[in-house]
């Protein structure tokens, strides 16, 4: 019989991230990154790859705003009509 998935043997558990930064350090890191994003010259660091992915863009209220998501735009329209979002 084929076993598809057993949580007890899931191998993700060994992927541990080294504890280098304290919680306060992480907050500081976040502040530094956000300040850089707010800086006027942030375009110097933006890299446009083939798709529409942008670096340094966070989730905001405009996630569902009118954007061209290529082939997913039609799906999103259906989604919005059906679920009112």
């Amino acid at each position: 019989m084929l076993k598809v998935y057993e949580r007890g043997e899931y191998i993700m558990d060994y992927l541990q991230i080294a504890n280098v930064f304290s919680e306060e350090d992480k907050k500081f890191n976040r502040e530094m990154v956000q300040r850089a994003s707010n800086f006027d010259n942030r375009d110097k660091f933006l890299e446009k790859r083939g798709g529409k992915m942008r670096m340094y863009k966070t989730i905001g209220e405009d996630l569902y705003a009118e954007k061209d998501y290529d082939f997913t735009s039609e799906i999103l329209n259906d989604y919005r009509k059906k679920w009112g979002i």
Binding site: F21, F28, R30, M32, A36, T58, I59, T72
Partner: protein, 241 residues
């Protein structure tokens, strides 16, 4: 959904549609786990997680909902394929984005002498800000500069060039940068050729291994705290040619 141990002893051999749907559900569940891991990596450095990854994950749910309600195999296969593509995209883009941000931060310091400078007339000011250099000295400099981004950035460049920079470190940074770029090429290339690993753990493993190696290595020269502020420091201290 994700709490059940799945076997097929009690499922009819004719119920292959149920198997397909089960596999799809497991994929989504697995992605949730991998997202947790890669998000932890993002949160370590305060990096922004790309919104496109969230939208791809959301879109995968849309396809899962479709395939769950269908009864013909062809449609289920089509929706499953579309769902898998969204998940794969979200997974890979999340990793590539993280590695790119990390790489750019390291490049700032690797090319420090060529691309950045500070006002050498103010060295005395920077020295007074750097009296305590244990722990997160970068945050201490930030507070000492009274959150003046310009002075803070210049002080960090001064300290790096005066006390941290060395040929060994430069070689190490070069090795990390090349390693990261190779992983990115590998990640991007795997979408072009027909090779598909059994799962995406391998790439996630490489991302996290790379991050751990970089942090542990830079810890020895107390440089890990310079990674996240790299972009801000560059913006204020870059040379204008």
């Amino acid at each position: 959904m994700g709490d059940l141990t799945v076997t097929y002893q009690n499922i009819s051999n004719n119920d292959s549609l149920y198997v397909l749907k089960r596999i799809s559900a497991d994929w989504i569940d697995k992605f949730g786990d991998s997202f947790t891991r890669i998000k932890m990596a993002y949160d370590e450095f305060g990096f922004d997680y790309p919104e496109e990854c969230h939208t791809n994950y959301r879109d995968s749910w849309f396809h899962y909902r479709k395939l769950y309600t269908k009864k013909d195999k062809i449609t289920v296969y089509k929706e499953q394929y579309a769902m898998e593509e969204h998940l794969l995209r979200a997974f890979k883009d999340g990793q590539i984005n993280f590695l790119q941000q990390l790489c750019q931060c390291l490049e700032v310091w690797y090319l420090c002498d060529d691309i950045m400078c500070y006002d050498k007339n103010k060295e005395m000011i920077y020295q007074t800000m750097l009296k305590v250099t244990d722990g997160n000295w970068v945050e201490k400099v930030w507070k000492a500069s009274k959150k003046n981004e310009q002075i803070f950035s210049a002080a960090c460049v001064y300290y790096y060039q005066t006390f941290i920079e060395s040929l060994d470190l430069k070689n190490q940074l070069q090795r990390f940068i090349h390693g990261i770029k190779n992983i990115i090429l590998d990640l991007r290339g795997s979408g072009v050729n027909i090779y598909r690993p059994d799962d995406n753990i391998r790439y996630l493993n490489e991302c996290i291994d790379m991050q751990n190696e970089i942090c542990n290595s830079l810890q020895k020269v107390n440089m890990q705290y310079l990674i996240s502020p790299s972009r801000l420091i560059y913006q204020h201290c870059r040379k204008h040619n």
